[in-house]
Symmetry: C2
Subunit: 258 residues, 2 copies
């Protein structure tokens, strides 16, 4: 039985790749991933057969990984961040589920051993770079309405507002989708103050990283692209900036007990 | 200027500790952590001065770490999972914030350089062990009402239900708190089916790990303790168990497009 590793390569920095992820890549003969992710992983990818498909071909990429593993090749399918969070892992299980239901025609997939290797997601990298934004209850919402109806996303934005959750937006914008982030801002403004801190993180933990803290009222699609992590604080999140120190954190309320 | 590293040691397994976390512990002369976490980290802790305080002494532990660093000792404050998620990081920033406001009496803390090292949280470890539970929008809710009023927690449980978020409960139970998890179940049952899959993970990625998948209707405080991760699926999460395979995943909806 061959193994398909579903590998999280983390936010970008080499020293945030877990040893387990590195070992999984090392054990594989075949890698399925964007070229960029392999560049970040470095030498461990040398000598492996590299497979790629154009951006947007997620289903094809998951099939390819399952097919390679089913053909006897130890394979690693690699996503940045955590492969289990808005990434390729769930698609592999969706395909396997369809096969079990007889809706796919690839019984050989079921002989593949699947091993998922978790990793540090973008929201964690962003929070850690400037404090502790995720210090209390939080949620994540993907703003991509390619697969999820906008009504569902809107319902979740309202629920996030009502629950006063810190929220990290994944897929905030793409070339074809530019209005969702401003809609999300407007919904949250119904529930929390305009001065609520918002963290914008780009190319987190990489050489060209940029991190900016703005207010919810200032959040605008023009300052966000598909590589931007957007995390919005809850009504108690604090932005400290006194010229020397800059931190954003969400208190758990210990200070009330002091 | 000395550094206080806020270090995430991950869910437990040594190969899920990032190289950055290991390097931070290596750079420190003084470690502040539960003994158990140091056992999991292994040899890298040898020769360091180890400081500890009884369980529950979180504020004291954060103060101690800041004091040690302010006294010139490179210090690592260590939490399991991600130190930024329901852990010690936010408390350190809360204390620093109070100091900046003149409500603490430790100006020397402000000369300490703080570096947060993110890591793999329990919910990620749990999901990865058996599929991709976090494949779509999710939230986390701490069920501890020691610092957060129960009304706030209840409001978030309803918001989670309304938004149909996958949810991971942190601090689901302690010796003194045993009723919250059943209340949480009852609230979620108002919004999603009784057969919704629930993942119970204990001692995740460690030698005595146990993982069980039950239904939301079956969730009961008697099967949960303070070391248990409880993740509840959304209304579309799938539990596949056919004798040979067992997976839980939350689809993003790709299969609707196939």
């Amino acid at each position: 039985m061959t193994t398909l590793y579903l590998v999280s390569s983390g936010p970008g920095a080499a020293d945030l790749v877990t040893p387990r992820a590195r070992a999984a890549v090392e054990a594989a003969t075949d890698l399925v991933a964007y070229g960029l992710y392999l560049d970040l992983l470095g030498e461990v990818c040398d000598g492996k057969t590299h497979h790629d498909l154009p951006l947007g071909e997620e289903i094809g990429r998951a099939r390819l990984a399952l097919d390679l593993a089913a053909s006897g090749k130890t394979t690693a399918l690699i996503s940045s961040g955590d492969i289990g969070i808005y990434a390729m892992a769930t698609l592999v299980f969706e395909l396997l589920d369809l096969q079990l239901q007889g809706k796919e025609n690839s019984p050989q997939w079921l002989a593949v051993e699947i091993e998922v290797v978790p990793g540090v997601s973008a929201m964690q990298a962003g929070a850690s770079r400037i404090g502790a934004m995720l210090g209390h209850d939080f949620c994540t919402i993907s703003l991509s309405d390619l697969l999820t109806p906008w009504e569902t996303i809107e319902k979740r934005l309202h629920a996030c507002g009502m629950g006063d959750f810190v929220v990290s937006f994944y897929n905030p914008k793409s070339k074809k989708r530019d209005w969702q982030i401003n809609h999300a801002r407007d919904i949250l403004l119904q529930y929390r103050p305009p001065e609520t801190p918002v963290l914008l993180g780009r190319q987190l933990t990489r050489a060209d990283e940029s991190i900016t803290v703005i207010t919810l009222a200032e959040l605008d699609a023009k300052d966000v692209d598909m590589f931007t992590l957007v995390s919005v604080g809850n009504s108690e999140s604090r932005h400290i900036a006194n010229g020397q120190k800059e931190w954003v954190y969400t208190p758990r309320g210990y200070s009330k007990k002091l």
